[in-house]
Symmetry: D2
Subunit: 363 residues, 4 copies
């Protein structure tokens, strides 16, 4: 076998003390995926997993898949108890419910990774407009660091509060950043983003529309022009571009459980070949362990399912001088829990890949 095989990295445990972590809102899909990843993380010790409705139940009663957590129970949400028992807290609450909890945890000097939307937007006026609620602690927005490690590693490392990006923004920003940060986009017209997501991205709750007989041959755009991730995408693209940018963002639900694919259409400022653009992407992400630039133009979420990877396909269409970017993640992985663990690793000063270098299911 080739020498490269020696390089197969594995989760190495060591003799250092683990860091105590809590998960607030641990019974939804995002929370449960955090449980899955943290249960095998070599340096984290899960000391509390809260879930108000399931408090007192065994985690494995709700998720028998989480066998390594056998015997552990969900706790009720008590911020003081959380602050006492954990050094780092992952918060995975519904939109608008994080603010108060996070405020108390920060006040108790805990470091927080919030997986909701409460701390992602810097301009608090965007909340009433896109989320239909008013932000109660706008001052905290200035403290929070947007947790896209590939572009904000250093700031994340020292952050007290990380706002973990949304699933769609993650795939989209990773797919667009190399182009946008270099000003390769033509000035005219918006960027068109056509995104497709599996159902787990819609959360875990009883919904007639998501029953299998309703979904199994179903495919539909939703919230056309009004999806809440739009201002988040525009905010971050604007930072990368150094100017305001507009996007047309259309999410779709596809009959899958996990996986998210964004197909992005960008008019180019100047003629580039596919090979040139792919090289530029490869360079940009040369030191990003979780981004893979595909050899062909396509990316497929099945290849990153269960992992923290983002696969990116890059094609230039010379006839219309457009770039078509295809960016695939696992919405619960790099789009939520995986990225949160990556941020956790950076905050602790550990290798970014610690506990995340997992293969995906091959079928």
């Amino acid at each position: 076998m080739q020498p490269s095989s020696r390089g197969i990295r594995k989760a190495k445990a060591d003799l250092q003390a683990p860091v105590r972590v809590a998960i607030v809102g641990a019974s939804g899909y995002t929370g449960a995926e955090l449980l899955r990843l943290l249960s095998v993380h070599p340096r984290a010790a899960i000391t509390m997993a809260t879930a108000d409705r399931s408090a007192g139940r065994l985690i494995t009663d709700v998720y028998p898949q989480l066998a390594p957590l056998s015997g552990v129970r969900f706790a009720p949400l008590n911020p003081a108890a959380v602050a006492r028992q954990a050094d780092v807290v992952f918060v995975a609450l519904p939109p608008g419910e994080s603010t108060a909890v996070v405020g108390r945890l920060l006040a108790a000097s805990r470091r927080v990774i919030d997986l909701g939307a409460d701390f992602r937007l810097r301009d608090s006026r965007l909340y009433p407009r896109w989320y239909h609620w008013r932000h109660r602690r706008p001052a905290l927005l200035r403290q929070s660091v947007y947790g896209l490690p590939e572009w904000h590693r250093n700031r994340i490392a020292s952050a007290r509060l990380v706002a973990n990006p949304g699933c769609y923004p993650t795939a989209i920003l990773l797919g667009l950043a190399p182009l946008v940060s270099r000003g390769l986009m033509a000035p005219k017209g918006p960027i068109i983003i056509d995104a497709k997501s599996g159902l787990s991205g819609a959360g875990r709750s009883a919904n007639l529309a998501f029953q299998l007989p309703e979904m199994h041959e179903s495919l539909e755009a939703y919230q056309i022009g009004t999806h809440r991730h739009t201002p988040e995408i525009e905010q971050e693209l604007g930072r990368l571009a150094g100017r305001r940018l507009s996007v047309v963002f259309t999410p779709h639900l596809v009959p899958m459980s996990r996986g998210l694919l964004a197909t992005i259409y960008v008019p180019l400022r100047r003629a580039l070949t596919t090979a040139q653009l792919r090289s530029l992407y490869r360079e940009t992400y040369a030191t990003a362990p979780f981004v893979r630039i595909r050899d062909d133009g396509s990316a497929n979420p099945k290849y990153v399912r269960g992992t923290n990877l983002c696969d990116i396909g890059v094609t230039v269409l010379p006839r219309t001088r457009q770039a078509v970017i295809s960016s695939a993640i696992d919405n619960l992985g790099k789009g939520a829990a995986g990225q949160a663990v990556q941020n956790f690793n950076l905050m602790m000063g550990w290798p970014e890949t610690l506990g995340l270098n997992l293969p995906g299911l091959i079928a």
Copy 2:
């Protein structure tokens, strides 16, 4: 056809003699969908169904679903026999294989509806470029009528040779025609078309990539910038617009069996509201029995599965002055066999909806 075929039972609308029809290439999904629709058509009598590899086999051995055709067998492909036994011939052969057969049928004064690509493009030079074969009978291209009934009813009625549109072009052209034919598109930039199709659109053949374990959480763009339906879409849009138009067309495969959704992004020449644009679409299709303009902006192929309907959603995004058009069909229905039967009805001078006013499966 074998004596057993006489036994095909149908709901007969009246006492007039049926028209004898043959299906050439009847064992693929498109051919079989033709069998399904024509087996219950009140005026058609299927007198021959050819399938070279399955010749001699009972249709219900290959497709037990086609119970009304119990006892009927696939025949080998013999153009002379087809011409003898049928007045109208549906040809559903792989790309490039129709030309010779159709030439002989036309020579024998049969009327033909070709469901392949051999007669869709008017400029024969496009075949080597997009299909990688040279057209052997370019003269026939001038005889063929593009079979999109909503826009070419009269020409179809008198045609000897109808080129049934591709599945993607059908959804896309119906979705774009009201805008494009009125010149409402801004002159700058291409139209962006992001299309998603179920697997049956890829035909019926053993392919590792389409096995259920490979497909069930899979979602991928394919043939980015090179799909063969591109010149067909541009040809027909150009006719509607009265000028050359370019599109960026990206098809995707989604883990569904049937169904096709096109999400189309059009920069508008002037400010329009969603309500205005929807009205314009409703007017345009007021007399089109198979086009439905949805009350909201979304369309979903599950609602048209098994039917000849095309559902269209229309949304205007004022922030970016873009229209987002959502167009859904059944790729085997309005995208292939259903539309062919609609063309057949027009050619016979019957109501467009004859035999096609079927409800879809509700789950």
Copy 3:
């Protein structure tokens, strides 16, 4: 019903006046499948479709698939109005809710086909034990005829009240009757029935367990030994056998939308070959238009999806002298609405197949 309902278009078989039918409980999957089938039935005119929660809504708002019913609205449930407007009433209400409604319809001299369980069991004491409610009109149980046409054609023809069989009992009884009615079963031991159903059989309601992310790789037995269809199966098998019979009945949910397969294990009284047993099944069902005995031992619900067919596979295992019967139906078709329409045809004195001789979807 609103004037718009007059516009329901149908393939009309002849000039005779249609029979007025109502569907009570028309918004669940069974009710909607009745709408689908009756909307194309050549002799039925749907004059009312009740759905309490959806009253006033357009049918096509809830089920856009039912395009032939465009313009028709769901009505509130008012038994007097139903009795006034319909000659035959299909009742598709949840268990226990039919009794009162059906009583009033019968009192008003309407003929009723009840698709629920309220009139299937002849011994009213079985209701508290298996259904956990007490039957309020046990006298009606004696009037009702068990609506399995292949075995009770004549009694159904003259019935005022037909109890349409459950989905599992339909597949199981059709699969077992040829054996059991001839006493070919060995006296020892129970019959083992392992049945698998798609999710639509569980009804249309929001249920966390049936969300696509919960179901897509899910497969589970449920209500082992306690399913309510057990006494119905034993009652009818007992009648066929002329003696008490016990079954072990284990239903499973599989990640499908439609379809039901029962695999049935019967110890044989004497040695029989597969060919002999298949012949016996073929003979038994020679005049049953909806039962097909497969040439091999297997049956698959995909081949009967959307139809009123029951496919049966028959195999004898000589090593253990067991028959393995495989019986497949569409749970909403022959397992519910299709069979109800078949019963309707018999009650009206029409051909059993009227409006039901439909091909299934080929993909």
Copy 4:
């Protein structure tokens, strides 16, 4: 958090030298699952992965999911090279192809875990009858140890050649062994086994019948009475019972990718309650880290997907004095690659769970 949380076990690496392992036939689903598991095993170093048709290709070109193996290539199958580079060899070749390769590896003093059927049956005469080929090295059958760790731990520990059980036999034997080994089965009649498997169990090859449009609403029994796992099941049950036992074994394909469920019907010799039987199962498997007895009677493969677990549900039906056993595994996990790694751990004298204590995907 509860003290139990401290017990969360993680993959511990240590400073000892890894064992060199090779996978022969690494490009099929079983081989690739071995790659997945061994790539994160703390003591194994994959030194060779052969795949004749894919030789020279990067593993991640075929399976991009296996990111930890980035840069490693499939090698051609050369038994001498395998023997040189590996101490333990996993062989995952099609039926009948292992014999020669394994013979040479054993001759070179390598230890072998064979995942095919070539070494599972002790009576070589069963091969022509059930597999339709003649065993070329019957002497090796006496050397091989049947690799069901829960029942043969000690013999596996010292084996040179382990015959890894089939997927169906694994679920079935684990489900039946507690009953059968204690003679709790009634003497009359065969055990009825109704098993259901996802498609990945059928291997990775292009097959029209397994295309998504053919499978997505498909459900079917296959090889009724003739499946090759039958003699394997009867052989091992006979050993446990100390007498010949017959089974009726009917496998089904369900529209899933991974997962296997066996529902097993056993007539009991004497009256037992469900609670008693469950206790007996719990006792039996008290020290088996991968077997879980469910609190209710059902097991579901979704809860063990991607793991080496076997979930077992136990119910007694007093009416018919039957036990219904529900046994669920991941066909590629405990049904193939996971169990092979468990056997590997035993052969090396390591904890059985080393590298296998992984949580499953939660959606």
